[in-house]
Amino acid sequence: MPQPTTAARAVFNALPRVAPRQCAQQCPRLMSTTRSAPTKRPTAPNPARFQSQPYPPLVQRRFKFNTVEEAKSRYRSGPFSWKAGLLFIVTGAGLVWYFENEKDRMQRKRIADANKGVGRPKVGGPFELIDQDGNKVTDQDLKGRYSLVYFGFTHCPDICPEELDKMARMFDLVEQQRPGVMTPLFVTCDPARDGPKEMKDYLAEFHPKFIGLTGTYEQIKAMCKAYRVYFSTPSEVKPGQDYLVDHSIYFYLMDPEGDFVEALGRQHSPDQAAKVILDHMKEWRGPLKKS
């Protein structure tokens, strides 16, 4: 009987030739110093395991027909019958219809999820302002239609009038395709000077359908905050003194539930913007009012 150390060395020498799996079994033994038993070569499996198991007796019915006529009929028509064919067609058509339907539904759901819920900026919200005719307008009045919201002021030197002209073209393009599903809104950031009358005169030169919203300074401040619009009226303005208002310049597209969809900026031409809006409208599956 060899000494454990010599036996270990013998295995160690043989190591490069043994398969890794064998090593995994044998290596712990190599490390072991307490174990005195000599390493055994892997033994052959017990030949008893190869002995075949007795199978249960095989019961086989050669024919599943009860009468000879039945068997003859089956032999003539083969495995196909008009019933089987019909069943095949109906099942196939049903599956195709189901999968197509399900694919469309998942597509719509994905778009709706992308436009709502987590990860979307929370823009918009409840408000109460008055339009250019002095009527009260709230966020509830806009529900059921898309709305395009733009912030500005009537004394604006260059950007607002240009953007309002752009908005008018954009609105006309959308109206051509989907009449009555979008409300164009212009909200003033300068409520001190832009009353309903000033808004009416100003907007009449842009588009007859534009709705101009104004209110108290607090109402406008809340509205701008809800839409994440930055605006600053210069401090220490004496009565009658002229001033300009600094403000953000984006068109906010809001869906019929009052949720923010997309901001359109100076980089969009009226055609591009109208296309973006119309594409969003195509994806809308909820209820939509029409005037």
Binding site: H155, P161, E162, K166, E198, D242, Q267
Partner: protein, 122 residues
Amino acid sequence: MGLLPNLNLFGPASEADKRATEVRSGAVAPSRAERARCWEARDAYFACLDASGIVDAVKDDKKAAAACGAESGRFEKDCAAQWVTYFKKWRVQDIQKKARLKELEAQGASKMDVQSDFAARK
């Protein structure tokens, strides 16, 4: 007023004169026609400043007055006083921005689709 025959659209000359004063002081918001006239005067004034090589018309006001006195007069008459200052400041910033963009482009920066001039997009 003899200088402004087209302002007679608003009625008697005095009425038009009153309206023009109100626009200049910022008491009323300019109409579309008044805005167009103002922008036209602005563009003419800026073209003159460009030709004279003046960037900041607020800082170099004496030089600007000497070179573009007539244009400046029309600009100040047709635009609200606030707009005149705003446009002059805007011009300085725009020139700086364009120079900076040119500089960046020379350094190999890629251009983004951003509009900074007054021209409306078609």
